[in-house]
């Protein structure tokens, strides 16, 4: 059921509307198109601003227009529009729901996407990495004991090469899946613009593309420039910055550890060594950021300016689980309580595995889709 407004008729995709309402956009029908939101939004451009037009497209069930629209991703969800909305239509939540639907639409390996986005499939979600890791232990002969000894060292359970063997292919798979999703998103964006006669005939060289479109956007993301413009929501900015740099730091340290270990250095590093220090600092930033996010969300939900969806909370709790198990396993390792440290470390690996594997399908996919949309917006001069 393709929606085609150019012929003057609208074919509403009723299933899409229903799904949208289910995934956090249940207020969308309250919108009366007063257009207050488009002005309330500190990020919406002057020409064809959002989110008013998205609200009517959503009401009409114009799925194609919505998911092939960079604008829903240019929103950083400060919810100023929802706070000022005279009808409680919560455009902020509706846009979040549209983004969630878009992630599902463009997903490579759709069955996996379905599992991630279905609350009832949560056990399956955890079962996949658990089975993989248990099998790994079975293959390495460590399932029923691995000579714990006095000192707690996780490499006794999963040696670094084993971790590499499991996580590097996983990483490549995720990069591939996310890349596929992003490519189909980009294609959809171009097709949608071509339909209304907007097309870039002279393509920039790959070098120029990176220089003029990708790098500035990455700079923007690292400094959170757009996020900072995002209305009455300073605590979210701080929180997201903490989480962002927490992840970046941890990702960096994990790679340093892996590489240097393979070069013959002894890991884990002592507490005061730079990699360990950065790692711990990052974990702290992540933890504080998550606390802020949870606090802010609970407050907004209590005040009724925001509805938390499964996509929001499943990601929040997943990151919390990663953070908490990470910190607990480290602390218990240092104290030397092996019977706590090892199981918690196992759980930590399960959660990290989840976070990775489901990245292209969970809300975390906003990393790649929002970046793509921002690059596209720059590329087409939409700012």
């Amino acid at each position: 059921m393709a929606a085609d407004v150019t012929k003057g008729t609208v074919q509403p995709d009723l299933d899409f509307i229903r799904m949208l309402k289910k995934s956090g956009g249940d207020t969308l029908k309250k919108c009366m198109q007063c257009a207050n939101c488009s002005v309330a939004c500190p990020l919406a451009p002057d020409s064809r601003p959002f989110p008013r037009k998205e609200m009517i497209w959503a009401q009409w069930g114009l799925k194609d227009k919505l998911i092939s629209n960079p604008d829903v991703w240019l929103c950083h969800q400060c919810n100023d529009c929802s706070v000022q909305c005279p009808r409680g239509a919560k455009p902020g939540d509706v846009l979040a729901a549209i983004r969630n639907m878009a992630i599902g639409e463009f997903a490579f390996m759709k069955p996996l996407a379905k599992i991630v986005r279905d609350k009832a499939k949560l056990p399956v979600l955890f079962a996949i990495p658990t089975v993989v890791l248990l099998l790994t232990l079975l293959v390495t002969g460590k399932l029923f004991g691995f000579g714990e000894g006095d000192e707690v060292a996780f490499s006794k359970m999963f040696s670094i090469p084993v971790i590499d063997v499991v996580f590097i292919p996983l990483f490549l798979l995720v990069v591939f899946a996310a890349g596929k999703g992003v490519m189909s998103f980009w294609g959809a964006l171009e097709t949608a613009d071509a339909k209304v006669g907007k097309k870039r005939y002279i393509k920039p060289s790959p070098f120029d593309f990176v220089k003029y479109y990708i790098l500035p956007v990455l700079g923007d993301i690292i400094t959170h420039t757009r996020f900072a413009k995002c209305g009455g929501n300073k605590s979210r900015y701080t929180a997201h910055l903490g989480i962002f740099f927490g992840f970046m730091g941890l990702f960096l340290v994990a790679n340093i550890d892996a590489v240097t270990h393979n070069l013959g250095f002894h890991t884990p590093y002592p507490m005061l060594s730079p990699p360990k220090f950065i790692g711990n600092l990052s974990a702290l930033a992540l933890g504080i950021g998550m606390l802020l996010v949870i606090f802010k969300r609970k407050k907004d939900e209590a005040e009724g300016t925001q509805v938390g969806s499964y996509a929001d909370w499943s990601l929040i709790w997943m990151i919390v689980a990663v953070t908490v198990t990470g910190i607990v396993s480290e602390v218990t390792r240092l104290i030397g309580i092996g019977f706590v440290a090892y199981p918690v470390y196992f759980a930590h690996l399960v959660f990290v595995f989840c976070l990775f594997l489901y990245l292209p399908y969970s809300k975390l996919a906003h990393m790649v889709y929002r970046t793509t949309a921002m690059v596209y917006a720059k590329y087409t001069g939409r700012e």
Partner: protein, 426 residues
């Protein structure tokens, strides 16, 4: 079958709370068919909000003539006893028999007053005129407006220096001033009650994005009525407040506070027509002026209003933009204001600079902020809900729902009939 003579005189009377167009109508309609009516008004004059208006829509005639006829009807009718400066404190009892407590505030001017005005020249104290929404000043002793009824002066007890001044007493040749006057409370027994407490303009300072109270040239639609009224602060010349400059561009922001869950969740019914009407005020005075009306939906119910809307739409200098004004800013240098909205038809964000912006603020029932104690039901917005099954207490006009004057007079007449039915126990 209550024949006038067999009707018990006390339980047979009707209390009408509020002396605006609805209260006046209910009181007159009931009195003119032979029932006794007490009319209680909180202001020092009758006529309510209508007295502040420049013109009625859609006929564009001044409300003064209609009010004058009503005042004459009251003067000629012995069955109406009215109290100005009075408020109903409580109502208790059952249909057919209510005890009502009323407090009357001191006017400090007696019925000896001939409205000669000598006292005004003598009075040294000035106050902001609430009638003109602070756009003009009066002395502490003042006449509420040019044709206020009853034709008596009144002293603002909050600002008058009383015994330490007494200049007005010295100036008054009719011994009409009594600065010792005290509030008095008295009881009435009535058979039925009609609440016609009307409305207040929604407090525009609560619309924090729309700049009222921060930008000099952002005014409300009721202020526009006063600016355009011949008896208003500018004698009817529409000029912007900051520098008394003539206006060449004016923006109207519809639904300023109405249809908004954060303010008034309901449609105030009259603001679209009021802005269309006010567009004619400006266009009449300034043939080249441009008017921009920002709206969510233009609501011009009924054939006559629709016709009026079409007439204004045909004016080449009146522009209609579908998009709620979300923000208004002031240029600190020129005091011009910029209204911001998205034109939902073109999908472009607009920043329009104009000389003056008018907020079409809505109606908030008086009951939202001031409730009468007793067996009276208000809804969550402060509108009176009449229990028609039980009878006894009814509501008319904007105390009941947002309404135009025509609607008010219609349902005020209906309320008079319901009040009478309670008296004759039908």
């Amino acid at each position: 079958m209550a024949d006038e003579k067999s009707r018990p005189s006390v339980a047979g009377s009707i209390l009408v709370v509020g002396g605006g167009i609805s209260g006046l109508t209910t009181a007159l309609e009931a009195a003119e068919v032979g029932y006794d009516v007490y009319l209680v008004e909180k202001n020092p004059y009758l006529g309510g909000r209508v007295a502040q208006m420049n013109k009625y829509f859609p006929k564009l005639c001044p409300p003064s003539c209609g009010l004058e006829i009503n005042f004459k009807r009251i003067k000629n009718n012995r069955r109406i006893k009215f109290y100005t400066m009075s408020e109903v404190q409580s109502v208790s009892g059952t249909p057919g028999s209510y005890d009502v407590t009323i407090t009357q505030n001191p006017r400090y001017v007696t019925s000896n007053c001939t409205a000669c005005g000598d006292c005004v020249d003598a009075c040294p104290v000035e106050r902001e005129s609430g009638f003109d929404f602070g756009m003009a000043k009066t002395k502490a002793i003042y006449r509420p407006h040019e044709m206020s009824f009853p034709m008596k002066y009144v002293i603002d007890g909050d600002v008058c220096k009383k015994d330490t001044c007494v200049e007005c007493i010295k100036a008054c040749n009719y011994r009409a001033i009594d600065l010792k006057m005290q509030p008095k409370t008295f009881d009435l027994k009535v058979g039925s009650v009609v609440i016609a407490t009307g409305w207040e303009p929604y407090d525009a300072t609560k619309l924090d994005k729309l700049g009222y109270g921060q930008c000099d040239n952002v005014i409300t639609n009721m202020m526009m009525e006063r600016l355009a009224a011949p008896n208003g602060p500018t004698k009817g010349k529409i000029e912007r407040p900051s520098d008394n400059k003539e206006v060449s561009t004016v923006a109207f922001a519809q639904c300023a506070g109405s249809r908004d869950e954060n303010h008034l969740p309901y449609c105030s019914y009259i603001c679209c027509m009021a802005s269309l009407k006010q567009a004619t005020y400006i266009r009449e005075q300034y043939p080249d002026a441009k008017i921009y009306i920002y709206y969510i939906d233009m609501r011009a119910p009924g054939e006559r209003y629709e016709k009026f809307y079409k007439k204004i739409k045909d004016d080449k200098n009146v522009f209609f933009i579908k998009g709620k004004v979300a923000e208004i800013e002031e240029d600190p240098g020129t005091k011009d204001v910029t209204v911001m909205a998205e034109n939902a038809m073109t999908g472009e964000k607009l920043r329009q600079k104009v000389d003056m912006a008018v907020l079409a603020t809505g109606m908030q029932p008086t009951g939202a902020n001031t409730k009468i104690t007793g067996d009276i039901t208000y809804d969550e917005n402060g509108f009176v809900i009449a229990d028609l099954e039980k009878g006894g207490i009814f509501a008319s006009g904007c105390a009941r729902q947002p309404s135009d004057v025509m609607g008010c007079t219609k349902n005020a007449t209906g309320a008079a009939l319901k009040a009478i039915q309670t008296l004759v126990r039908r």
